[in-house]
Every structure is written in structure tokens, then in C-alpha cells.
């Protein structure tokens, strides 16, 4: 029974004040009071006396003392008086003794642990009934209770001994289990493990029977750790949970230590759940451990900081694994903050852990494309690990190489190739040294770093170096894969693929094909869903390789395989950009097969994946731009000009972003995009937009102009040429001429247009056209003569190709001569022209016959103007003779118009020459007859009206 409860009962029921009870409880104070009573010096605690006065013995003694006092007052005999006085003294002493005994007894009640019997007795005692108080405790009963208690104690002692023995037994089973794991007489490791588990399971039965729950929980924890170490994960989880239950459902002497243990179990469970992909359970366990550790974090206990930091770190790695990216950063940062504090307290113990968290968050930032932060944290980790190496090189050198390798990759991402090379080189030196001592462990890391350096060399235009290094990496990886295919095949496979790519970029297609085939053969061995993208990359690369080798069937086969592969797997596992690349390539290959719908659909798929793709890196932007461009080119070719413009614009946007990212060289591609948009607008007849986009193409291209940009010069020749053409169409003749002259200037600068050159001929011709429109005859003549000279020289090289172009420019020039009445030049040129046309007409009658007729007409007109009627008649007749054969003409209406024109000229000629009146009429009838069968009545009418005018002329004034 609770002593406080019993004392309260006394104060309530026995009418004893709390103050008095306090005095009685306090042994020292009570002894002072008893002495005071004995001394009878008046300094007496009245309340104490009042309490004692309730006892019947005290009252009896008091009565006897009063009686003696009464007798003494009446007694006269001195002897009797003396005797009565002595009697009174004895009673007084007896009373004091009684008071002393009562108070000491009362004190005794308050000092012993109360039982029900003691409590009842005490209540009677404090109420003043000593006899009842005494009788309430039965001696026999006490003896019986005593015997039971002794028996109970004996059994408890025996049980304690048994519990200790059963704990020993549990320990023996545990040790037996662990010895069995080392018993190599049992040949099979799994048989050893099963036996060990059997023994430890027996031990667990023993451990569960002890009353020492600390032992029970510890055994389950140790057993769980053993199972975890031996990959028996399910059983490990069960035993951690058992340990957790024991700790959560029992009271422990040291509850704080128990809570620390609970948090440790939860932490281990969290890691175990994570390793077995039970992510929800892992998160819940880690969070519970985290909350407990946060609750009991003490500033003076570094270990509590360390544990909490560990929980934050473990949760961060878990969130990173399940892609809950928004939580990863915070948890790493919390862990880092705690570990920084710990490092200030004890750098020797905690710097390595801080470096680990710094390394991990840097990897996270790299995955998130936050390269600046990734570099910052990697650098800090490197600094920490360098410091650690100064104290214990053996222990930390490998970690330093990890950080150097990782930062090398980030420097590659940000295209700081020099820094990347420095980091990789340092990592390589370390790893070569480590691998020479322990190849089994460090060859993997060595192959990785060599592989990365190969990638860097390839990226920086050193393909030969890349190939050499890659071969070394493959050799190491291949050897590792032979020893342990499960662990190392993947690495080997990736290196094979990279090597094939380097060979491909070095135009060693034969070896590249062989390596791609090796990688492709390993396809089925790599089952991890995390490497679907690598597989797709192989299929895409092989497609690209066969396209380069012009083995279209194989390219088509691998491209189709890639599309099928995408279809067979869940979309979410793929990098959207790679899928877009696959569809785009598939479309490009099928373009040549006239599979219009298939191609358009594939491009649409490619664009739809591009819209979902992560385009944050420069490489991704370049790839996306090229895919948009390929699609736009196809659409343009298929006359879908508006859709083509949209895709050209998207392609241009990617290049523009690259320029904004500090890569001005991409202005080159941006220029091409703008120019293509302009050409589409030109096709759509929107010459204003066309002019605007050619202008943009020129502006962005000229931003990157260097004295030796020969390719760009060539492009600018085209841009300015089209600029001139469109400006002329938009009636901006001055601007057009200027553009043509720029085009000419770039053609000269580029050195790509050695004389004679068709482009130069065209430019001079077009300049001549503008000058002609402005009636700048002499300049136009000179320009045309330049064009004719160039084209005549080209005719010497390839007559058939260039003769028509000579004819065209001669037509333009002869017009100038004709208009300017330069008879001799015109006559000479007409003769040349007709000679050319006579050569061209049989080759392309429908095109050149009209030219010949009109030229003959013009030639006749020339003679007419110079009053050489006879020659004029000859050429008019010649024009009519050659032209009066409609079967030769495909464009009937144009032909007939031309024929009518000829007849009209002839009629007009006769009109002026009286002797030929009949001929005029005859021709009038002839042309009418020629035209009527072709229902070209409007032309007939027009002609007859003209002839009528001639007739009237004859009738009125010139009739002979």
C-alpha cells in the first residue's frame, strides 16, 4: 500500500493534523520534542501532548496523578506526604515514558512500508486505541505471511537463476549459429546459413523466456542484423519488428536508452525496406526514427546530432531513389547542416560523413541540371576528402577519387573541358594506384574513369585518343564481367556501346558496326528497367550507322526495332528526347519510300515527345532543334508550308536558346532556320514576311562572321540573292540591287565560286534586270554582258546545261538594243539568239518555239523600224511558217496569241507596203482559218478588227 495514501487516511479518520503528522514522521525532530517533554521545561509541543492524551493509558495515569495531587493537598503527615510525593514522581515518569513510547511507535508506523494489516493497526493506534491496534495484527497470520513471502523470494531467486541460465543458453545458440557459418565442413554456404538460422531461432526461443526484456530485444536485434548481413531480408524484417515490439511494450530501467534503441531499429528497418524496394514502409520507418531522434536531440550530445543527421541523410537517399525530388534537397541540407556542426565539435570523427552528404547532394543537383550548385558541393566534398587524406590516406583516397570523378562529369556537362580533364586525370592517377594494389575492387572504378576520359576526348575532337582509352576500359570491364557477369556486364555493355560510337564518329564504320553488334548481342542479358534508354540508344546509333553506310534496309530494320521497342515498354521509363529521335529517324528513312502518311505520323510522334522532353541541357537543345528541322524540311518538301514554318520556328527557338546560353556559333543554324521560314513564306506568296525573315537570317549570320567563315559566306550569297529577288518583287529596286551586289561580294570572298560560275551569272543577270527596269541602259547592258560572258564560258564546259541561260540573258539584252534602236548590236545579237534557239527548239519545242517565233517577230520588227521591208517580210514569214504548226505547241492559247501577233505584224507591214495588199488580205483570211478551228474566237475577233483597219486603210487612201 502506498504510504502517502495511508497517511492521508490517518489525518482524515484519526483527527491528526498534517503538521503533527509531519513532526511524528520526522524522527530527528520528534526526538527533540520527546526530550523537551522529558525535561518538562515548559517548552513542550502542545499538539503532541494533546495527541497522546487521547490514549486511555495516558488518561488513566493522568487521573492517578490528579488523585495523588488531591491527597497531597490534604496530607499532614510528613512521612505519608513524602511517600505520596514519590508516588506522583513515579507516575509522572511513567507517563513521560508512555508518551515517549507512543510517539516512537507513531513514528515507527510512518517509517515502515505499509500493508493492509499495518494500515488498519495504524488507524486504530492513531485513534488512541493501542489494544485494538495490537490485536489487529495477528502473530500467526504474520508467521504464515512470512512463510509465503520467504517461499516467494526463494522461487524468485530460483527464477532469476533460471532466467540467467536461459540467457546463457540463448547466447550459446547464437554463438553456435555464428560458428556454423564458419564451419567449412558444410560445403554449401546456403546449408551453413540454414543451419545457423535454425540455431539462432532456437536461441530466440530462450531469449524470449527471460524476464530481462533488454536481453530479449537485444537478441532479436542481433539476430535481425545477422539475417540482414546474410541477405535473408524477410526474416530480418520480422526480427527487427519483434525487437521493436518488445521495446515499445515494456518498461525499461533506462527509458532514454530504450528510445535510442527504438530509433536505431527503425533506422535499420528503413534501410532494409529501401533495399527491398518497400518504399512506403521505408519512408514511414525512417520518418518515425527521425521524429524520435529530433525529440531527444541534446546540444551536449554529439551522438544525438549524428543520429539525426543520419536519419535526414537516409531519408534523402530514399527520396532520391523514388524520385521525390522536392524532398531530397531539404533532407540533404538538414543532414549537411547537422554534420557541419558536428565537424566543428570533432572533425576527426564527422568530416567523412559530411563529405558523403556533400557528394550526394552534388549528385542530386547534377541530376536536376543545377550544375552551379553541383560544382559548389562537389568542390567542398573534394576539399573535405583531401583533408581526410592528410590524416589517413589509405582510408579516404578512394573517396577522393569518387568526388574527382563526379566533378569531372559535371564539368563535362557545363562544357568546361579543361577543368573536367584535370579532375579526371587526378582521379585516374589515384585509381590506377589503387587498382594496382587491389584490382578486384578498384578495376571497376578505374574502367569508369578511363571510360569517362574517353568520352571527354571524343567530345573535344580527339577521337583517336578516345578510341585508345575506350579500348583499355573495355579490356578491364570485359575481364571483370567474365569473373562476375551479374555485377559487371552492364558496365562492359555501356563501354562497348560508347566505343562503337567513338569509332563511328571517327568514320571507322566497320569496327563501329562490330562493336555495336557486340553490344546488341548482350541486349537480352541486361534486364534492368533503368537501362531501357541505353538499349534505345544502341538501336538509334545502329540505325544512324547503317544510314551512314547507305545500307538502307538495315537502317530501316533497326529503326523499326527501335519503334517496336518503345511500343513494348512503358513510356515513363524512356527519355522523351531519345524516343523523339527514334521517331524522327524512322520518319527520315521512310521519306524515301514514299510512305507519306507513315512519315507524317512519325514526325508528329517525334514532335509530341519533344514537347514533353527535358530540353535543359545544350546537347538536348541541339538534338531537339535538329528533329524540329527534319520535320520542317519534310513538311516544306510536301508543300505543307504553314506547318513547316511552325516547326522551323520551333527549331529556331532551340538554337536561339543555345545562343542565349553563350553559344553564339548557333547563330549559324538560326540563320538557316530563318532563311527556310522565308522560303516557305515566299511559296505562300507572303513576300513581306519572306523579306523580313531573310533579313533576320542575314542579321544573325553576320553576327558570327569571321574572315575565314567560308561556309557562312556561301550561305550569305544565297541569303542576299533571295533578299534581292524578294525585294525586287516587293518593288524595292534599290534595296534589291544592293542585296545582289552583297551577294556578289560574298561570292567573291567565299572562294567557292571559281570563274565561270552559274550563280555569278544569275547575279549579274538579275542586277541587269533591275538596271533595265530603271532604264539604266548602259549599266544594264554591262551587267547582261557580264552574265553572257560567264554563261558562254559555262556553255564551253557543259553546253546543254547552260545554253538556255545564255538565251535568257540575250533576250533581255536584245530588248535593250531594240528599245534603244541600236540596230547593229541588236541585229548581231538576234542572229546569235536565233542560232541558239534553233538548237534549243528541237530539244524542248514547247518551251523554245514560242521564244523563236517572238524573236523572229522582234527581228522583223527591227528591220521594219529600219525600213528594210524585204528582210522584215522574210522574218515575219519565217515566224509564221515555223509557228503555223499548232501540233508542236502544248500551250495552245499562248501559241495562238503569238501567231496572231505575228500575223498582225505582217498585216501591219503590208499595210505600209501597197504592192502587197492582196497578200495582206490573204494572210488575214489565213490566220482566221488557222484560229477558228481552235475556238479562239476572241483572238480571231481581235485579229480581224486589226485586219479590218488595214482593209479600211487600203480602201480609203492607198488603193492602187
Amino acid at each position: 500500500m502506498d504510504n502517502n495514501h495511508w497517511l492521508t487516511s490517518i489525518t482524515n479518520k484519526a483527527n491528526v493534523s498534517e503538521t503533527l503528522l509531519e513532526v511524528i514522521q520526522d524522527t530527528d525532530k520528534l526526538k527533540v520534542e520527546i526530550n523537551n517533554i522529558s525535561a518538562n521545561d515548559g517548552n513542550v509541543n502542545i499538539e503532541l501532548l494533546q495527541f497522546v492524551s487521547t490514549f486511555s493509558v495516558h488518561q488513566q495515569l493522568e487521573r492517578e496523578k490528579q488523585l495523588l495531587v488531591s491527597k497531597l493537598s490534604k496530607e499532614t503527615d510528613s512521612k505519608t506526604f513524602q511517600e505520596l510525593s514519590e508516588e506522583y514522581e513515579r507516575k509522572s515518569t511513567e507517563q513521560k515514558e508512555f508518551i515517549k513510547e507512543v510517539l516512537l511507535s507513531a513514528n515507527a508506523y510512518t517509517q515502515v512500508r505499509s500493508t493492509t494489516a499495518i494500515a488498519n493497526s495504524a488507524l486504530l493506534f492513531f485513534s488512541g486505541d493501542i489494544k485494538e491496534a495490537f490485536e489487529s495484527i495477528d502473530a500467526k497470520e504474520l508467521e504464515s505471511t512470512q512463510s509465503k513471502l520467504l517461499e516467494s523470494i526463494k522461487i524468485r531467486l530460483e527464477l532469476q537463476k533460471a532466467y540467467r541460465s536461459i540467457e546463457d543458453n540463448a547466447n550459446e545458440f547464437q554463438i553456435k549459429g555464428q560458428l556454423t557459418i564458419l564451419n567449412y565442413d558444410i560445403a554449401e554456404p546456403n546449408d551453413r546459413l540454414q543451419k545457423a538460422i535454425f540455431y539462432m531461432e532456437r536461441g530466440k526461443i530462450s531469449a524470449s523466456k527471460t524476464s530481462n526484456k533488454e536481453f530479449t530485444a537485444s537478441y532479436s536485434f542481433k539476430y535481425a542484423s545477422f539475417l540482414n548481413d546474410h541477405f535473408a531480408y524477410d526474416s530480418a524484417v520480422k526480427n527487427y519488428l519483434d525487437a521493436l515490439e518488445v521495446r515499445k511494450t515494456n518498461t525499461f530501467k533506462n527509458q532514454e536508452s530504450n528510445e535510442i534503441n527504438i530509433a536505431t531499429i527503425l533506422n535499420n528497418l528503413g534501410n532494409l525496406y529501401k533495399n527491398t524496394s518497400n518504399y512506403k514502409e521505408a519512408e514511414s520507418s525512417h520518418l518515425e526514427a527521425l521524429h524520435m531522434r529530433r525529440e531527444r536531440m541534446h546540444a551536449g550530445e554529439p551522438k544525438s546530432f549524428d543520429n539525426l543527421a543520419m536519419s535526414y541523410h537516409n531519408l534523402a537517399t530514399l527520396y532520391a531513389e523514388i524520385n521525390e525530388t522536392e524532398k531530397v534537397e531539404n533532407h540533404y541540407l538538414e543532414s549537411i547542416a547537422l554534420r557541419r556542426t558536428l565537424v566543428e565539435i570533432d572533425p576527426n570523427t564527422y568530416l567523412a560523413e559530411l563529405a558523403l552528404s556533400l557528394n550526394n547532394i552534388a549528385i542530386f543537383y547534377r541530376d536536376q541540371k543545377q550544375f552551379k550548385k553541383a560544382l559548389e558541393y562537389h568542390n567542398e566534398a573534394i576539399e573535405a576528402r583531401r583533408e581526410l587524406c592528410q590524416h589517413d590516406k589509405d582510408k579516404h583516397l578512394s573517396d577522393l577519387s569518387v568526388s574527382l570523378h563526379n566533378i569531372g562529369i559535371v564539368y563535362m556537362d557545363v562544357q568546361d573541358f579543361e577543368a573536367s580533364a584535370r579532375a579526371f586525370d587526378e582521379a585516374l592517377v589515384i585509381r590506377r594506384a589503387l587498382a594496382s594494389k587491389n584490382p578486384v575492387v578498384y578495376n571497376v572504378q578505374l574502367a569508369n574513369t578511363i571510360g569517362q576520359i574517353a568520352a571527354l576526348k571524343n567530345k573535344t575532337g580527339q577521337p583517336q585518343e578516345a578510341i585508345k582509352l575506350s579500348e583499355e576500359a573495355i579490356e578491364i570491364a570485359e575481364s571483370l564481367a567474365k569473373q562476375n557477369p551479374v555485377a559487371h556486364s552492364l558496365n562492359h555493355w555501356v563501354l562497348l556501346q560508347n566505343h562503337a560510337t567513338y569509332l563511328q564518329s571517327n568514320q571507322n564504320y566497320k569496327d563501329s558496326e562490330a562493336y555495336f553488334n557486340k553490344a546488341f548481342k548482350m541486349f537480352s542479358q541486361i534486364s534492368s528497367p533503368y537501362h531501357l534508354n541505353t538499349k534505345l540508344s544502341i538501336l538509334n546509333s545502329m540505325t544512324g550507322l547503317y544510314l551512314t553506310l547507305r545500307q538502307k534496309d538495315k537502317a530501316l530494320d533497326f529503326s523499326a526495332k527501335a519503334i517496336k521497342f518503345i511500343g513494348n515498354h512503358q513510356e515513363e521509363h524512356f527519355e522523351k528526347l531519345s524516343v523523339a529521335d527514334s521517331y524522327s529517324t524512322f520518319a527520315q528513312i521512310n521519306e524515301g519510300e514514299n510512305k507519306g502518311e507513315k512519315v507524317k505520323e512519325a514526325y508528329a510522334q517525334a514532335i509530341s515527345y519533344l514537347n514533353k522532353a527535358d530540353l535543359s541541357s545544350p546537347n538536348a537543345l541541339v538534338k531537339a532543334a535538329k528533329i524540329y528541322l527534319a520535320s520542317a524540311l519534310y513538311l516544306e518538301k510536301s508543300n505543307f508550308f504553314s506547318e513547316a514554318i511552325s516547326n522551323y520556328k520551333l527549331s529556331g527557338e532551340q538554337f536561339k536558346k543555345l545562343v542565349q546560353l553563350g553559344k553564339p556559333e548557333h547563330n549559324y543554324e538560326l540563320g538557316i532556320n530563318y532563311f527556310s521560314i522565308a522560303m516557305c513564306h515566299k511559296q505562300l506568296g507572303d513576300l513581306v514576311e519572306a523579306e523580313s525573315y531573310v533579313g533576320k537570317a542575314i542579321r544573325v549570320s553576320e553576327k558570327i562572321l569571321e574572315p575565314d567563315s567560308s561556309n557562312l559566306f556561301k550561305d550569305l550569297v544565297d541569303y542576299y540573292f533571295q533578299f534581292g529577288f524578294i525585294k525586287k518583287k516587293n518593288n524595292k529596286l534599290i534595296g534589291a540591287e544592293k542585296a545582289y551586289l552583297e551577294s556578289l561580294s560574298f561570292a567573291e570572298k567565299s572562294g567557292a565560286y571559281p570563274y565561270p560560275n552559274a550563280t555569278l551569272g544569275s547575279i549579274w543577270n538579275n542586277i541587269g534586270n533591275i538596271q533595265k527596269l530603271q532604264e539604266r541602259w548602259t549599266e544594264a547592258e554591262n551587267s547582261y554582258l557580264q552574265a553572257i560572258a560567264i554563261r558562254n564560258d559555262l556553255v564551253k564546259q557543259h553546253r546543254e546545261n547552260y545554253l538556255p541561260s545564255v538565251e535568257a540573258v540575250m533576250q533581255s539584252l536584245v530588248e535593250i538594243y531594240f528599245k534603244n534602236n541600236e540596230f547593229e548590236k541588236a541585229e548581231s545579237l538576234y542572229k546569235d539568239l536565233m542560232a541558239i534557239l534553233e538548237e534549243l527548239v528541237p530539244k524542248n519545242t514547247h518551251r523554245y518555239l514560242p521564244n523563236l517565233i517572238s524573236t523572229l517577230n522582234e527581228f522583223a520588227q527591227l528591220y521594219l523600224q529600219n525600213d528594210d521591208y524585204q528582210t522584215a517580210e522574210h522574218y515575219f514569214n519565217e515566224a509564221f511558217r515555223i509557228g503555223n504548226n499548232p501540233k508542236l505547241i502544248t500551250d495552245l492559247r499562248s501559241y495562238l496569241n503569238l501567231l496572231a501577233e505575228t500575223q498582225l505584224n505582217l498585216a501591219k507591214f503590208y499595210q505600209k507596203n501597197i504592192p502587197h495588199q492582196e497578200r495582206s488580205i490573204a494572210f488575214a483570211q489565213a490566220i482566221s482559218n488557222t484560229l477558228k478551228p481552235h475556238s479562239q474566237l476572241d483572238i480571231v475577233k481581235k485579229y480581224l478588227e486589226e485586219v479590218n483597219d488595214v482593209m479600211e486603210y487600203w480602201n480609203e487612201s492607198h488603193i492602187e
Binding site: 550459446e172 555464428q178 560458428l179 556454423t180 564451419n183 526461443i205 523466456k209 575492387v441
Partner: protein
Amino acid sequence: MSKNTNISVIQLIKDGEISIDLEIEKIHANKDVNVNVRKFLGRSSDYQAIKKRIEEAEAEREKSQGEELIFLEKKVHDLKVAEKDYITNALLLAKAFSEIEVPTERLRKAMELFEKGQIKQADELLVIADLLDDQFNLLVLIEYKEAKLKLLENGQ
């Protein structure tokens, strides 16, 4: 009489001179283990047998080619994994011994044999039939005493 220079690896663990976690970390990173751990392993005939098998397989590998070479490379690798497992398990066992505050006579003897590298003998010492007998007797005894105590304390 020669002086026993063998230092107890279990005692070193108890005294915090050897950290098992650190040693296991070193083994997996192929780093050199503590000198006393090395001495301890040197006393184990099973460990020596594994080492010998590795040396033999490596020597054979040097002479072989083709498929046989692939086979032997895998064999060497597997044996090295077994070596690591052996050291790890031996250290975990040493740690388990060190955590027993008051060992039974049997465990004390097993510990002595373990320290001498006589792991097989230590294993043989803990006869499973004895352990099971002890367990049975103790379980019965505890059950009986607990029931008796319960009766006594319930006043029956």
C-alpha cells in the same frame, strides 16, 4: 617454456582497440585489416586453406587460356569473395563473443579455441544436443516456477 604472445582479439574488441564495423568496411574495400586481426586470421587453418586454394587457382589461371581461363577467373573471384565472407563472419563472431558479459564454461572454452583459430573445435564444443537439453530443462523449470509463483502470490 615459450611465452604466449597471442593477444586476444575479443579483448581488443571489448577494449575498443578494434572496431568491427571499421574492419569490415576495410575488408570490403580490400584494404589491410588491423595487424591483430591479421595475426588472428593467421591462426585459423580454415582461413589458411582458403588462401591456399586462391593461390593455387591463381597459379592455374596464369597457365590457362580460352574457356579454361574464363572458368578460372571466375573461380579466383569466387574464392576471394569466400575469403572476404570468412573474415567478415569471423569478426562478427568475435564481436558476439565480446558482447557476452559472463560467459558459461562452455562459451569460455569455445572462446579460447576461437582465439587460437580452432573454429571447428569451438563449434564441436557446443554440442547441439546439450544446448537443446539445457533449453528444454530450463524452459520446463521456468514454466513450473512461474506457475508456482503465480499461485503463491494469488494466495492459493
